[in-house]
């Protein structure tokens, strides 16, 4: 596209189909302990499994 550059991102709608295994970290475990977010958490599934 000429006017819009789209960054590669995980498709959240698609993740609704295969996600939800619950293997990921709890939100403020091992980290800040005071200001929770999940943006910086990793999915434990490999790219193939996603």
């Amino acid at each position: 596209m000429k006017h819009i550059k789209t960054v590669e991102t995980r498709n959240l709608c698609e993740s609704a189909k295969k996600g939800g295994c619950g293997e990921c970290q709890t939100s403020c475990q091992s980290a800040c302990k005071t200001s929770c977010g999940i943006a910086n958490q990793k999915c434990e599934k490999s790219d193939k499994e996603k």
Binding site: K2, T9, C13, G22, N40
Partner: protein, 461 residues
């Protein structure tokens, strides 16, 4: 729903529900802002009026405006712009599916501390109670409790927390040894974290932490004068000189394993970027700087007047990260670590933080609380590690926390990145775990904008 903002010299458009991120030129940025109005019959704006406005503003030809309009429509049709939120019915599904599964414990091995930091939310490690050390027996039972309640979950996380956990280091070692002895037979993998103020770090601790701890969280506030203002011993002496060489030695020996230098900033140092720079000068590269959590009106609490300063610090921090990237000397900042390609699935994003359900804190006596920040508040006691959760009503309250449990969150563009925020902060600010900690939200949103900007800049360069 979309969120548009300008940052780092770029025009960024986040499509909230698909997670798509776009960088666009100025005229496209304005066209996207008007696009939904154009297609809304109730709006007075039409394609012609918007095209005319943009033609006057940018001098863009009608043909090119049509091209831009078509590009936007193409992305909308591809599910990358203006995607509707269809997730509300799924909220709670993951929790329901994994109901009763505990996957992480915060082990309060020491309700005592060798520092006397006045801003400590744990009231110098005592959590508003008596000083106490966890026994090895309680610690081991906590590991059994975790294994017994973890279902099919493979990775189990345990934080050694306090107070100062190194004041009970022998028990830390015993608990780790015990956990390692049972993990294989139960097909589990323990990941340990140690959070420490550094005072008791020695070669033994360094060797042990680097062998057994997946992560270490090291408390350092940055500039010596900032750190020593609060982080003092009981005689009032600052701890900076004592701990910095120890942290440097530990990090050097860590061999690439995770760590965070974790600082706190308050009303007295909203210019916290200076503290980050000091951490960098000291050789640290994995950094975190957190806004203080304290009661409104506390002299240390961040004020409305501090917010513009803090916002600017976050922006400059993002610029510094990109500059350091270019210099070949990158560093990480906890809140800017955003994995756009492989971050959490939608279930995780709408399920809430997990406190009180999959994550609990264990006191030195073996009592269970929803998280470390509720320890010491008897109303939130969930049960204990021998009998499990008995206060089901308290747990239900936490289980019901999700993105759609708060009206304010339902329409917030950042909701799929904070998962509804911190229940403890919400409770302390509003009296309800399903309240909204507004000033925390403001800072979170600013950090998220910066984090996305950094990733976009990295991607497009």
């Amino acid at each position: 729903m979309i969120h548009q903002y300008k940052s780092g010299g770029m025009n960024i458009v986040l499509d909230v529900c698909s997670g798509s991120v776009h960088a666009v030129d100025d005229v496209t940025y304005d066209m996207i802002a008007a696009y939904e109005d154009i297609n809304n019959e109730a709006s007075i704006k039409t394609k012609d009026t918007v095209f005319s406005e943009l033609n006057v503003k940018y001098g863009t030809s009608k043909e090119e405006l049509s091209e831009i309009y078509d590009e936007i429509t193409e992305l909308k049709d591809a599910g990358k712009l203006f995607v509707e939120d269809t997730y509300e019915d799924m909220a709670g599904e993951l929790k329901a599916r994994t109901s009763g599964v505990v996957k992480a414990l915060c082990l309060h091995v020491a309700h005592t501390c060798n520092l006397n930091c006045s801003y400590c939310f744990a009231s110098q490690g005592k959590f508003h109670g008596e000083r106490a050390l966890m026994s090895a027996e309680v610690g081991k039972r906590a590991m059994d409790f975790l294994v017994e309640n973890s279902g099919t979950r493979h990775n189990l996380e345990v934080d050694f927390f306090g107070g100062e956990p190194l004041m009970n280091f022998d028990v830390v070692k015993e608990v780790v040894e015990y956990a390692r002895s049972i993990e294989k037979q139960h097909n589990k993998n323990f990941r340990f974290t140690l959070t420490t103020n550094g005072v008791l770090i020695d070669d033994d601790v360094i060797e042990y932490a680097n062998k057994e701890m997946s992560n270490v969280v090291l408390s350092l506030d940055g500039r010596k004068e900032v750190h020593d203002r609060f982080r003092v011993d009981y005689a009032g002496n600052g701890s900076w000189e004592k701990i910095v060489p120890k942290f440097q030695k530990l990090v050097k020996a860590r061999g690439g394993k995770n760590y965070y230098m974790r600082g706190t900033f308050t009303h007295l140092n909203p210019d916290f970027l200076e503290d980050i720079k000091v951490m960098l000068d000291l050789g640290f590269r994995e950094l975190s700087m957190e806004p203080v959590v304290c009661a409104k009106g506390d002299p240390m609490a961040l004020t409305e007047e501090d917010l513009p300063i803090v916002y600017e610090q976050y922006e400059k921090l993002a610029e510094l990260m990109l500059q350091k990237d270019k210099e070949g000397d990158p560093f990480t900042f906890y809140h800017y670590m955003i994995d756009l390609k492989g971050g959490p699935c939608i279930y995780k994003r709408i399920s809430g933080c997990g406190s009180g359900t999959e994550y609990m804190a264990v006191t030195p006596w073996g009592d269970l609380f929803p998280c470390h920040q509720f320890v010491g508040d008897a109303a939130f006691k969930l049960g204990d590690i021998w009998n499990g959760v008995t206060a089901k009503d308290v747990q239900d309250d936490f289980a019901s926390c999700n993105v759609y449990a708060r009206e304010e969150c339902k329409t917030c563009w950042a909701r799929l990145y904070c998962a509804g925020g911190c229940a403890a902060n919400a409770y302390h600010a509003t009296g309800s775990v399903r309240g909204v900690y507004e000033s925390g939200c403001k800072l979170f949103k600013k950090r998220l904008e910066c984090a996305i900007m950094v990733e976009v800049a990295r991607e497009l360069r």
